[in-house]
């Protein structure tokens, strides 16, 4: 069993240095866990992030050399959204900074932490 409070605490550790929301969602865009400031934005972000991820992931699987998508970074005028896969779920950071390297390092570390427990329930 996953403890929702502990999961939210783990997600909230990434909410520093411009990261506003950390989301855990499934591939159809349903929000499973969330930590951050704007709840309304989170639902919109999760729906769009999963849609864009699925569109690009499909191309990787359809290519001759099976090429899985590791990270997706959506760079907008006001900030960035970075998405990666953890077990069969998606992990997403919503940030108002442009530090790609820092975002990638944060999401990689969070992925490493969550991979094992989420794998056991998937």
């Amino acid at each position: 069993m996953l403890k929702p409070k502990v999961l939210t605490n783990v997600l909230s550790q990434a909410n520093t240095g411009g990261v506003e929301n950390t989301l855990l969602l499934n591939s159809d865009g349903t929000l499973l866990a969330f930590s951050g400031f704007h709840n309304r934005d989170a639902r919109i972000t999760s729906a769009i992030a999963s849609n864009v991820w699925c569109a690009y992931e499909k191309h990787g699987h359809n290519s001759f050399r099976e090429d899985p998508l590791n990270y997706l970074i959506i760079n907008c005028e006001g900030g960035n959204v970075i998405v990666t896969q953890v077990a069969n779920l998606l992990l997403c950071l919503y940030a108002t900074t442009n530090d790609f390297g820092l975002l990638k390092a944060k999401i990689a570390k969070l992925k490493e932490t969550l991979e094992q427990p989420l794998m056991s329930i998937s």
């Binding site: 864009v52 569109a55 690009y56 191309h59 990787g60 990270y71 959506i74 005028e77």
Partner: protein
């Protein structure tokens, strides 16, 4: 002008580590210019269906309350793809997994002045 554009993108290809090819296409993914280091184009990232996915993705991404979408960066296991939103054009860079993305993005702002001619032609044809 076309030679100038080719020269500019060839110089990016030569300067950025790991970068293999550059494509300029319209929003439907129809290539207008294709450049590659060794005249080989990888399957992933150069197909019309892949290029046109960006048109949908950029419209959706602009609704995330972070302003207009500028670019999408994709890190696949064995390749890195950067797509720039230069409406009505899409610029796609395809490289290896070790492509220096930061270095590549320093050229993103310089790209605009070389694309004016393409944009004018496309806009005239769209009317």
């Amino acid at each position: 002008m076309s030679d100038e554009v080719k020269r500019f993108f060839t110089s990016i290809l030569n300067k950025v580590n790991g970068l293999n090819c550059v494509l300029i296409s319209d929003r439907d993914g129809v290539p207008l210019l294709k450049l590659s280091k060794d005249n080989k184009f990888p399957e992933l990232g150069t197909k019309q269906s892949f290029l046109s996915t960006f048109s949908i993705a950029t419209v959706q991404s602009s609704k995330m309350m972070l302003g207009k979408n500028k670019q999408i960066i994709l890190c696949y296991k064995s390749s890195t793809i950067v797509q720039l939103n230069k409406a009505p054009l899409i610029i796609t860079f395809v490289g290896t997994e070790s492509t220096n993305i930061g270095h590549l993005l320093t050229y993103a702002n310089e790209v605009d002045k070389y694309l004016e001619e393409y944009k004018i032609v496309l806009e005239q044809n769209l009317i």
